[in-house]
């Protein structure tokens, strides 16, 4: 194998690992949430070349947030506009009301800073802490994705855990693992944009 061939192979391996593991020094991963309606907004995960600013990878998903379009309404309004930091990502989060694959967002005061402070918000789905489904009743179970009304949230961004598998939350998580890969608490600087 020539030196040139080795170099090409090495470059290919570096590139592969760069995309398989955490975002490299030359790439950045961020989410963009475009608010159209409480149950029919759009969430993208983006891989950006930090040198050129170009988006070199993007996947998009239907997403929901809130039950009203007033971003100042605690427990009701969709996520306020602006930039957020990511506070962490967990595959098996086991909160009392939010479980499974989640990304936690930083706090945000609504209406450009004049109103309610919104806090403890996540990107998540309706699933159990082990990424499964728990659907004991014929009604709306909190850890079971029954249908489109599950896009409603109290303020968080929600993506579907619906068949066919991998579900949207599964594909979002796989993309995160491929492009960024961090887990646990960390600070993802300016990693979520809401418009």
């Amino acid at each position: 194998m020539s030196t040139r061939s080795c170099s090409v192979l090495l470059a290919a391996l570096i590139a592969m690992f760069a995309f398989a593991g955490e975002a490299s020094a030359t790439t950045n991963v961020f989410f963009a949430f475009h608010r159209y309606g409480n149950t029919n907004s759009y969430l993208t995960i983006n891989l950006q070349d930090t040198n050129s600013g170009a988006i070199i990878g993007q996947r998009g998903f239907r997403a929901g947030s809130g039950t009203s379009t007033d971003e100042c309404a605690l427990r009701q309004g969709w996520l306020p506009a602006g930039w957020y930091d990511l506070r962490g990502h967990f595959d098996y989060y086991n909160g009392s009301l939010i479980k499974g694959r989640v990304w936690q967002l930083s706090d945000k005061r609504c209406n450009g800073g004049s109103g309610q402070l919104r806090s403890e918000l996540f990107i998540h789905s309706e699933e159990t802490s082990d990424e499964g489904q728990y659907c004991p009743t014929a009604y709306d179970d909190p850890f079971c994705w029954e249908g489109d009304s599950d896009y409603y949230s109290l303020g968080c961004i929600k993506v579907a855990h619906a068949q066919p598998y991998p579900s949207d939350v599964g594909r979002l998580d796989a993309t995160w693992d491929s492009w960024d890969g961090r887990h646990g608490y960390f600070t993802g600087y300016s990693a979520v944009f809401v418009s």
Binding site: G82, W83, D85, I98, R109, E120, Y139, P142
Partner: protein, 390 residues
């Protein structure tokens, strides 16, 4: 004979006018519909606080020590609360430790998780003497009991820290100048909502902004009132509370009338039965805080306002008002309150450009007036207490 006929006709007309007046005054003449909104330059109506200006409680407006503000509670609780004897007003204040551009991320401004950003402090102002007393740092969200006891929350630490839950205790003073007693057994994200007689109704906030309601009967004595629900209003006699469910928590959300004594459901009104008169479709949500006057409750909806009647343990929908502006993003109507006549509803709304305005509606005439736009920091928020009962 002709005179007698004329007299009879006059009496009939008078009787008809009188009966229309009585029907309207009784509210049974209220009809659902789309309300027309006109602009006005008139001064705000009722007891209001706008930044540092407190008006409608005394002979002339008073200037508060600090602007009334409660970013941790928002409009879940009143920003200023009058005592039942009219001697005091308790109001929420907030001091930022540093300027924050909330449109940008915190990290881009050098703010790390755990950095102290601001401090809430509850103030009690004597309306007669103008004396203003700041309570402990880290306090906000107040309600007065009929006998003058003051309930509020007090942070475990005085400062709100970035990305960190502001944990607090529920405390009660038997009078504003007495020592506070802790009623909660452990700190949590509590909001004091109001007294129902001797019982204190408190909201507990969880991750994802879920809220459940608790009743404190005394120190260390809390019991559930309603899970995944928020308070709309407390009955004037303090025996029951109207709470709202979220479409995010259930596929059949409803307003629920619950007994404060034992949390049993007395009546319910599914949102699917509250039909907007302009669109002929059910409202998506109904939410508090609202107002309960005699046997009527007013609350905000996804398209305007709803007036409900609570009588004989039954809940009925009296009137649904469609307000076009309420359907816009950031256009909901906040904290609707009845004026004493039960015919006028006073509320306020955010406007584009970080502004706000008071809206005053005649619910019988189906007309509203919108006051002058002011910066959101000076939004004309009503001064009230949700508490009921003796």
């Amino acid at each position: 004979m002709k005179r007698i006929a004329l007299l009879g006709s006059a009496l009939l007309v008078s009787a008809a006018v009188l009966s229309i007046h009585l029907v309207t005054a009784g509210g049974t003449g209220a009809r659902s519909g789309r309300v027309a909104v006109a602009q006005t330059r008139a001064a705000p109506v009722g007891a209001t606080v706008r930044g540092r200006v407190l008006s409608g409680l005394g002979k002339s407006p008073a200037k508060l020590e600090l602007a009334a503000s409660a970013p941790l509670a928002g409009s879940l609780v009143p920003v200023a609360v009058p005592s039942p004897d009219g001697v005091y007003v308790a109001y929420n204040t907030w001091r930022w430790r540093r300027d924050v551009d909330w449109y940008q991320s915190l990290s881009s401004q050098g703010i790390q998780t755990g950095d102290a950003l601001g401090t809430p402090v509850l103030h009690v102002r004597s309306l007669g003497r103008g004396k203003d007393v700041a309570l402990e740092p880290g306090t906000f969200s107040a309600a007065w009991r009929k006998d003058g006891a003051l309930a509020y929350v007090r942070g475990e630490q005085p400062d709100y820290r970035a990305n960190t839950p502001f944990l607090r205790q529920v405390v009660v003073r038997s009078a504003p100048d007495t020592a506070p007693a802790v009623w909660s057994s452990s700190p949590a994200e509590y909001h004091v909502l109001g007294w129902a007689g001797q019982a204190l109704i408190v909201a507990q906030q969880f991750e994802g902004e879920s809220i459940s309601l608790l009743v404190f009967d005394g120190p260390g004595s809390a019991r559930p009132l309603a899970q995944n629900a928020s308070l709309v209003a407390i009955s004037p006699d303090g025996s029951s509370a109207l709470v709202d469910e979220s479409p995010a928590d259930t596929d059949a959300p409803a307003l629920r009338l619950v007994s404060v004594t034992d949390a049993t459901e007395l009546a319910r009104a599914p949102f699917s039965t509250i039909v907007d008169p302009a669109t002929s479709t059910p409202v998506a949500w109904v939410s508090g805080p609202g107002d309960w006057l005699d046997d009527r409750v007013v609350a905000s909806t996804s398209t305007g306002l709803v007036v409900l009647r609570v009588a004989g343990g039954r809940l009925s929908i009296e009137q649904v008002l469609h307000v076009d502006s309420a359907t816009r993003p950031n256009g909901r109507l906040w904290e609707p309150r009845f004026a004493d006549d039960g015919r006028t509803i006073v509320t306020w709304t955010d406007l584009p450009g970080a502004q706000a305005a008071q809206i005053v509606c005649d619910r019988f005439a189906l007309t509203c007036t919108q006051g002058a736009a002011v910066p959101s920091a000076n939004a004309p928020r009503p001064v009230y207490d949700e508490s009921g009962g003796n």
